[in-house]
């Protein structure tokens, strides 16, 4: 504890020198027996027994000690020990949680580069919020995990979920139908595991498909050449059955989803 006005070293002036005089005694009298060496204590006692003036001074010291001894019993209890223990434990837990979050922050932001990481985090959060708002207001319902991921190139109109046909066939069919339907949106847009389902598009597709099926024998050779995949689908019974089954499956899926999804987000 450096730096205050206290005394740093004991004056050696009362080191043992025989015999102890009054000056030395009046410094030594502030010490207790165990603070003086045995020789010093003997000298101290000898002087005390011979010097009346020093006896009077020493009585004052003893009297002060008595008063202070009474004073030292005057300490209040630490009020509620359990409450204090709880406060300490609470504070330690708060410190620990602060440390954990601070250390993660230190690692990511302070050590890995302040401005770049901050901008990157802010941009990502903004993009996420914006894309959520756009999708939420676009009339689509987002259903997680209904489809396995078939494409990493997201939001391409020509994507189509398996297991309709092989993926190449599906892409061809959708491409044909999209063109045939003159600018209508595709019925499925797939992005990772997130599937957007638009009931109106599916109904359009079903109507279109049924109509095409009923007029297949009458379709001109140009149609056959321009839409080979669709032609294949319309004329091969096996594939057509698969498509039927898939469409029925989709419709029943939409009905089931409508039961689960909150009213405000029902599929239109």
């Amino acid at each position: 504890m450096p730096g205050d006005s206290s005394v740093n070293d004991l004056s050696p002036s009362f080191q043992i020198e025989m015999p102890m005089n009054c000056t030395r005694f009046r410094k030594a009298m502030y010490f207790r027996e165990d603070e003086l060496g045995p020789d010093e204590w003997r000298e101290f006692q000898r002087h005390l027994s011979t010097c009346r003036a020093c006896v009077a001074k020493y009585r004052e010291v003893e009297r002060t000690q008595e008063v202070l001894a009474l004073f030292k019993n005057r300490t209040p209890n630490s009020t509620n020990p359990v409450a204090m223990a709880n406060a300490v434990i609470g504070e330690i837990e708060r410190n620990n949680s602060r440390k954990t979050s601070a250390s993660v922050y230190d690692l990511i932001v302070l050590r890995l580069g302040l401005p770049v990481v901050r901008i990157a985090i802010a941009s990502t959060l903004t993009l996420l919020c914006a894309s959520f708002l756009i999708e939420y207001t676009s009339g689509y319902v987002h259903v997680k995990g209904l489809e396995t991921s078939i494409s990493t190139s997201s939001l391409v109109h020509s994507d189509f979920p398996a297991p309709f046909l092989t993926q190449n066939d599906a892409l061809g069919v959708v491409s044909d139908l999209s063109r045939f339907a003159t600018g209508k949106k595709s019925f499925f847009e797939v992005s990772g595991n997130w599937v957007m389902i638009n009931k109106a598009s599916i109904e359009d597709f079903i109507l279109l498909y049924n109509e095409l099926q009923s007029i297949t024998p009458k379709l001109p050779p140009e149609f056959r050449a321009a839409h080979p995949q669709l032609w294949k689908l319309l004329t091969k019974k096996k594939d057509a059955k698969e498509l039927d089954a898939l469409l029925k499956e989709r419709m029943s899926l939409i009905r089931e989803l409508n039961d689960l999804i909150p009213q405000e987000r029902k599929i239109p």
Binding site: S6, L10, E35, R63, L70, K72, A85, E91, I92
Partner: protein, 163 residues
């Protein structure tokens, strides 16, 4: 923990003469003890280590007070000592709250280091070597500070308590 908490509180209160501040110091001390446990040197007695943390926190508080020019006992009228009746009966003295307040006021006038040494040695009853270990001072320095503190108190108390 409760047992040690009692020791810590009595030291902090005797040094600071203020219950609220003493409680804060004890709380802070135990938090520091907890966070420093991995660095605890087992060759040192736990109580010595604890007193060391408490004493140093109290020292900081006392120094802050000195800088602000305030003490916990500013409310005590310095003339109290003069007005306290001379009592020769120790029991009466003990019951005399004014005298206790006056003694607190006197000890509060000691420099922070002297006050802490005086409290640890004379009020808490620790040995000189323990005090020197707690405060990381030489024993001769502890003794020298004790002499000054005791003399200071005797000179101011004697007029009121002498026969």
């Amino acid at each position: 923990m409760e047992e040690y908490q009692g020791y810590a509180f009595s030291v902090a209160f005797r040094i600071l003469c203020d219950e609220e501040e003493a409680r804060d110091v004890v709380q802070e001390s135990f938090i520091r003890i907890w966070s420093s446990l991995p660095r605890y040197n087992r060759e040192m007695k736990f109580t010595t280590w604890m007193y060391s943390i408490v004493a140093h926190l109290c020292y900081d508080k006392l120094r802050t007070r000195k800088k602000r020019g305030t003490t916990a006992l500013d409310a005590v009228d310095p003339s109290l000592l003069a007005s306290v009746a001379v009592e020769h009966n120790p029991e009466r003295l003990y019951s005399n709250k004014e005298l206790a307040g006056a003694i607190e006021m006197l000890t509060d006038k000691l420099p922070p280091k002297q006050k802490i040494i005086f409290v640890l040695r004379d009020l808490q009853g620790l040995s000189v070597s323990e005090v020197s270990e707690i405060l990381r001072l030489s024993e001769s320095s502890v003794k020298a500070n004790l002499v000054y503190a005791r003399r200071f108190l005797r000179e101011r108390l004697v007029p009121f308590i002498s026969d």
